[in-house]
Amino acid sequence: MTPEAIVAIIASGLVSGSLYALMASGLSLVWGTVRMFNFAHGALVMIGAYSGWYISNRGGLAKVLQPIGRNIANNSEDWGLIGDILHPLGEWILSIKAGFGLLLGVPLAIIFCGIAGYVIYIFLVKPFVGKPGADLVVIITTIAGASFMQNGVQVIFGPRYKQLDRILKGPPVEILDTAIGLQEVLIIVLTPVTLLLLNLFLKRSKLGLAIRAVAQNDDFARLVGINVNQIYPLTFVVSSMLAGLAGLMLGGLFFILPTMGSEPLLRAFVVVVFGGLGSLPGTIIGAYVIGLIEQSSAYVFSLYWAPVVLFATLILVLIFRPRGLMGGENS
């Protein structure tokens, strides 16, 4: 193996590892606190990409607003005082023909995903919390929700693939004669920063402490006065925002389509089991290990053999460590 190949494998392994880490940490967080698996997590990745595209791209919201803007700008002179006030608004809408850009698109898409996660919790999870067999019921309801979202998006946006603009424009970075795209570099750098912020939130903030408390001992959490019914939706919101960010990153690398979240979701489940259910550090380490294994086996064997190597590794790890890499007693 040439040094160039090694750099390329590590870079692409870190990119997939980052995406898996963002997705799997959300899954793991929800599992740890609510003790349920959210199968709509992949659909949330897709929602993140689509909403980011809709806000930032010229073909999205900006295009829908253009006729309205033109109407205001052209006719506001006849509307008297209200027209005077509205006229600049019309001009402004016309001026953003190229879309709102990623600077607005990324944060708004992440917030939108948080809201979507809350809605998923309220309609698909909350009615079953505390009922016997809820974990199985919620698997079905969230699969239904995912299918609803995928088909809804297909109806609204049509079958044509979309793509997000690259956040950083410029020539690729060269390491040891291997070119690595700026988008990839951004993903590799931004993911650990995000995970660090997540860690700070969980360790330092009152709500973060409460999330961990519910995950570790929900009975005792109730006895110190934590509103567990508030922590569950909060966990879903945080987890969905992470999924949205993963979607925005994925959307800048590949085409955006309604089923784009399904494949990464499957990998994220592998990561969660591999790293140890409910263990956030295990999940993150697991994500990068899986990403690197996947990319190196794709290079050494072939793309089609990568899943085989991946699952063989998973089986081996589970034989020797049935609870995953860092799974604890209570997972």
Binding site: L209, A210, R212, Q216, A221, L223, V224, G225, N330
Partner: protein, 237 residues
């Protein structure tokens, strides 16, 4: 009257474990509950603090009806229940556990002084403040459990089996600490198998049998050791 339970029945599913039980605690009083295992003491406490629904009867605290209230609201009112079996947040540090004990906003202002109080009472917790709860010894975990309860600034502190499974020396240490809390003016209900421990702390004892109060005594000297043995193990014929 600070705390009153009237004809309370509750349990799991359709089976009542606590059956038409009544008791009361006045401000500043320290009341002990004892009785054989599996006769509803813990179920009573879990019902009172809102973890289990009430089937019938009434619970009142500080003049308010708290029957069926959310646990969070009950904690907000100042009824703090330290559960059995040193329940803690195992993967969090001592410091984090205590911080969570002061979760309700009522305690925000005096958080620092409460930390001080807990650390004076249990100096060992101060030494181990950055250690994970699951790495503590059984006695230390129990101290932390009680410490977490104190951080919630209890108007009524309920301790469920604080001495269970502890070595005699540690038990004594813990009993001293509980007496100290009691003499600092905190109203308490203590549940324990060890009647002697209760006698050292409480002015009044209830014997709980088959889910209800079968004996109440204000004069603790009346409680005869032989009588208790009989209650636990039956008559020797």
């Amino acid at each position: 009257m600070l705390f009153q339970v009237e004809n309370l029945s509750s349990g799991y599913g359709k089976i009542d474990v606590v059956r038409s039980l009544s008791l009361h605690v006045d401000v500043g009083e320290h009341v002990g509950l004892f009785g054989p295992n599996g006769h509803g003491k813990t179920t009573l406490l879990r019902t009172v603090s809102g973890l289990i629904p009430v089937n019938s009867g009434r619970v009142a605290f500080r003049g308010e009806d708290i029957t069926g209230l959310d646990p969070r609201k009950i904690v907000e009112l100042g009824l703090i229940h330290v559960p059995q079996g040193n329940q803690l947040f195992p993967e969090m540090t001592v410091q984090e556990n205590l911080t969570l004990g002061a979760y309700v906003s009522r305690t925000d202002k005096s958080k620092a002084s409460n930390f001080e109080k807990v650390f004076t009472l249990f100096p060992r917790l101060k030494e181990r403040r950055s250690q994970r709860a699951q790495t503590l010894s059984g006695g230390e975990r129990q101290m932390l459990s009680i410490g977490v309860g104190l951080m919630g600034m209890p108007e009524l502190l309920i301790l469920d089996e604080p001495s269970v499974g502890l070595a005699p020396l540690i038990k004594e240490e813990l009993a001293r600490a509980i007496s100290e809390i009691a003499s600092s003016g905190v109203t308490m209900i203590v549940v324990d198998q060890d009647v002697e421990l209760l006698l050292g702390i409480c002015e009044r004892l209830y014997l709980i049998e088959k889910g209800t109060v079968s004996l109440e005594t204000t004069d603790v000297s009346q409680v005869d050791q032989a009588e208790i043995l009989e209650m636990y193990f039956g008559k020797v014929s």
